[in-house]
Symmetry: C3
Subunit: 116 residues, 3 copies
């Protein structure tokens, strides 16, 4: 099976495709980064939509999602954006936990594994 990488930097690739399985990096909000965890989630999910499209996949094919919140108190804000974004009947396996992230400005980080 081939390995294909997109948005390849010296530290990480944002998208790695192995056969029929697609891995994204942990995605954080783009600059200028809002202080609002819901706004960050919205930006992250838009990036994930784009990445999956580049891989020939989409959000109906997400297998597993890992969500890190810099403070678990953002849980409801996250879900206020996550729940309507998830395709009805095709929700991924998900885990959502608290971890501080690379920079204090980041409140949310999301990584997915998808089929294509």
């Amino acid at each position: 099976m081939t390995v294909e990488r997109k948005h390849v930097g010296p530290r990480l690739s944002e998208l790695v495709i192995h056969g029929d399985t697609v891995y994204t990096a942990g995605i954080v909000a783009r600059d200028p980064v809002s202080d609002d965890p819901a706004a960050q989630t919205r930006d992250i999910l838009a990036q994930i939509d784009s990445l999956l499209a580049e891989a020939g996949s989409d959000k109906t094919k997400i297998l597993s999602a890992t969500i890190w919140l810099a403070d678990i108190s953002y849980y409801d804000a996250l879900n206020s954006v996550w729940d309507p974004w998830v395709p009805k009947g095709q929700s991924p396996a998900r885990a959502c936990v608290e971890s501080k992230l690379a920079r204090p400005k980041y409140k949310v980080e999301i990584r997915v594994i998808a089929a294509r």
Copy 2:
């Protein structure tokens, strides 16, 4: 490869099957939730046994497990239940780290990737 989902909610599916690979959500203890991290672990592993059975898999086929403890001081309590549950000679790749979980009542969350 087909994608099959079971226990599908609006936020997450507890079980997602992609070809020969099975992904569970991060599983936490069921209500009424014990305060005891060992008891929570026991309940979680019973749920994982059931989910894997539904996927045509079982604990001898777990590839990777991620364990989050709300406090790393639960490490020995977790292992007191985990170690005897793991099939001799067929232990998964495992990582166990501390992260606060979605609700304060949850002390342990476990997610697995398995073959089937």
Copy 3:
């Protein structure tokens, strides 16, 4: 698809191979453990090189990496070792977050999924 395990203990296997996909455990530094997060990273990446070699893989084929830092302040120390180790043009999807680890002596833990 077959499942093959190496460095199998009663709690975890350090390496699990499922068809063309390789899963490592969360790897921490070996004893005697340095206090320096950069030194721990160097030791961990050497172990990952060895594990991947045993699986018929190598660091050019890493699909996804999860990095846990016991304190996110180790971020730059981690990257000072990580960045030169990563093969140019073949960087993995990566997430790096803060979580306390199993023992206070551990500052860094890294887990990878690779193709082979």
